[in-house]
């Protein structure tokens, strides 16, 4: 009897657990990623290459050795920051497409701060100040679109994209004019060792930047869930009119959310410059800011969701490199896969169809 009853006891529990919104989101996101990879496979086959060889070199490149795993984590690091930056802005209903530009100015500000301070300060302090410079520069570039959105209603998507171009041109100009190391490449000299982020696993390229990224997730999650400012940001994101009626300073919160987003995006640049390249190189980003959009969408803008989503795209990035090298499949295929992931995850009705649920979600 007890044997017969046992399933009845745990079965409703399991179905209830499976039906939790968070879990079905994870399930659906996984399906969306697999579908996107499947489309990628079809395209690889259509271009006359071996799908097995391509995806084998992708996974080998991402996980093949401790060095490869460290490489994957290194590529994950900036994506944690940019993904979190986009997610934070989304929490307030804002679409920050400008993480790429914010990353550039943040990276250069950190490099300049580290080079200026030199080795005159104790290590921890110069690292801290260089990070602060990166965060402030990112925030400054993001504050403008926030202000223009709040005060003039200028669409933040257009203003942040325009600022991407401006940020990239501006950093290239500044490096060429003031900080260039003599030579053919437009880059700054190496940062003093005291201002570099130490290696997390000695002998590999993964730095303490990834720990910093996880700390940023923790902080963002805390601010959103445990502070009144975070609560108000979410309220504005859900329904600005209702938030205003409830006495929330909507323009102020819009600017604050963009500034927070810019801080995190600026730190993405700092993490690469101080933890991986040890210098600022013009045009160094392979689109971390744009991949951050895919990360945030896949994470459904939840701070802790950013971690697995960033890891996934870190895997695609480092695996994509080895796929390009060994299977001769252009890496840009991974950009295409990212686009598909965004489209699929953004479509709630598609989720309903795929999971055979009644579509109640409306966006």
């Amino acid at each position: 009897m007890s044997l017969r009853q046992a399933p009845r006891k745990w079965l409703p529990g399991v179905t209830a657990w499976l039906a939790r919104p968070g879990l079905s989101d994870i399930l659906y996101s996984t399906v969306a990623v697999l579908l996107a990879l499947l489309i990628g496979a079809v395209l690889i086959a259509a271009s006359g290459r071996s799908v097995v060889a391509a995806y084998a070199s992708l996974f080998g490149g991402a996980f093949g050795s401790i060095y490869n795993i460290a490489n994957t984590l290194m590529m994950t690091t900036p994506l944690i920051f940019t993904g979190l930056a986009v997610a934070l802005a989304f929490q307030c209903g804002l679409f920050n497409v400008g993480a790429e530009g914010q990353l550039y100015v943040g990276g250069l500000a950190s490099a300049v701060a580290a080079l200026t301070l030199g080795s005159s300060l104790p290590g921890a302090l110069s690292i801290l100040l260089a990070l602060l410079a990166g965060a402030l520069a990112g925030a400054a570039l993001a504050a403008g679109p926030g202000y223009m959105k709040a005060k003039m209603g200028a669409h933040e998507v257009i203003t942040t994209i325009m600022l991407n171009y401006i940020g990239i041109f501006l950093t290239t100009f500044l490096v060429k004019a003031y900080f260039k190391e003599p030579g053919p490449v437009d880059q700054t000299p190496f940062l003093p060792p005291s201002a570099r982020l130490p290696e997390l696993i000695p002998g590999t390229r993964v730095s303490w930047g990834i720990v910093l990224g996880i700390a940023a997730i923790f902080a963002a999650d805390y601010i959103l869930k445990r502070t009144s400012a975070g609560y108000e940001i979410q309220a504005v994101g859900r329904n600005p009119a209702a938030a205003e009626y409830a006495g929330v300073n909507v323009p102020g919160r819009v600017v604050l959310a963009m500034v927070m987003s810019g801080v995190v995006a600026g730190l993405a640049g700092s993490s690469v410059v101080m933890g991986t390249l040890y210098r600022f190189i013009t045009n160094f980003s392979p689109g971390y800011g744009f991949t951050g959009i895919a990360v945030a969408v896949l994470a459904r803008n939840r701070p802790w969701g950013v971690l697995p989503a960033a890891l996934l795209f870190g895997i695609l990035q480092s695996g994509g490199l080895s796929m390009q090298l060994f299977a001769r499949i252009p890496m840009d295929l991974m950009t295409l896969v990212q686009g598909i992931v965004i489209l699929f995850v953004a479509a709630p009705a598609l989720a309903g169809m795929l999971l055979r649920r009644r579509t109640t979600a409306r966006g």
Binding site: V97, V157, I166, L343, L350
Partner: protein
């Protein structure tokens, strides 16, 4: 300072302005159709990029740049249809799916370029469109000098803008499009198929942006290069807002954008010495200023960005 003014009011600069306004005006008018029907179109950039790619592909395959133009219209239209599918049928957030589409288009075109031509930077050179002259207007002062010889797509753009205005404000179809974006329930009540109107408008916007892309790859140059639209789709969206969702307004504001763009190119070759990067920033800075100044007084279609289902708007 005098040198600077010379550069600004140079007649060559005005001719260049019309040239450079062409792709932006076409895509901006596309944006006007899409947004008048209620669908936000951030995907113009990807549609334009796809159009530029398909234009070169068509000319490469057939040898005829005109078939290339048709390919570009079809390619842009296909991207428009994909956005329509996600934004209308699958109820994806318009802005997010538009950005997704742009990233998809960037990956697709760059990947295909390498698969087809084994080069990541630029494609092979193909037959581009020849220039076209109207000698009859050559002797009209200023206007004739500016207008008499251009790519045929420039003249096509001017005709299409007028036709676009006519369709949008003087035909039943235009009324339906505007109604779908202003008040979908009312449109539904009088028997208009809101979704069909939106599918049509968004696909049309893709065709127009694709044609704008063909201008970049077949008229301005005769090859495709990675990310060759370089933000012009976004500028077009800003031009559309500044042009008050009206094809003729779009043309006017595209001239403004193109003017800074051509100014930027002229300064680079003029005696005025400014660092290249600073000059290259100008069109983007200008877009922001225009947008910040323009939006205050503009009123977008009332149901823009909303999903409509018979009986309810969400």
């Amino acid at each position: 300072m005098n040198e600077f003014l010379d550069v600004i009011f140079d007649i060559n600069n005005l001719t260049a302005t019309i040239r450079m306004a062409t792709p932006i005006a076409l895509a901006a008018m596309g944006g006007a159709f899409s947004e008048r029907s209620g669908v936000v179109n951030i995907g113009l950039e990807g549609m334009m990029l796809t159009g530029a790619f398909c234009g070169v592909l068509g000319s490469y395959v057939s040898g005829s740049p005109w078939l290339g133009v048709l390919f570009a219209i079809a390619g842009g239209g296909l991207m428009g249809a994909i956005l329509a599918l996600f934004a209308i049928r699958l109820k994806a957030d318009h802005v997010v799916s538009g950005v997704g589409l742009n990233i998809f288009a960037l990956g697709l075109t760059t990947w295909l370029m390498q698969v087809l031509w084994r080069n990541r930077g630029t494609s092979v050179s193909v037959n581009g469109l020849p220039m076209f002259s109207i000698p009859a207007i050559k002797n009209i002062p200023v206007l004739g000098t500016i207008l008499w010889t251009h790519s045929p797509l420039v003249y096509l753009m001017l005709i299409l803008v007028f036709l676009g205005w006519l369709v949008m404000f003087r035909t039943p179809l235009g009324l339906r499009i505007r109604m779908a974006g202003e008040h979908p329930e009312a449109a539904d009540t009088v028997g208009i198929n809101v979704h069909a109107v939106q599918y049509f408008s968004v696909t049309l916007s893709g065709c127009l942006a694709g044609l704008g892309g063909a201008y970049l790859s077949l008229a301005q140059l005769n090859w495709f290069s990675m990310n060759m639209s370089a933000g012009r789709g976004y500028m077009a969206l800003a031009a559309n807002i500044f042009g008050q969702w009206n094809p003729i307004g779009c043309l006017g504001s595209s001239f403004l954008f193109a003017f800074t763009d051509s100014l930027q190119m002229r300064i680079q070759t003029s005696p005025v010495k400014l660092p290249t990067e600073i000059i290259q920033m100008l069109p983007y800075i200008f877009t922001i200023l225009i947008l910040a100044g323009a939006v205050v007084r503009s009123r977008p279609p009332a149901a823009l960005g909303k999903h409509y289902e018979s009986g309810r708007v969400s």
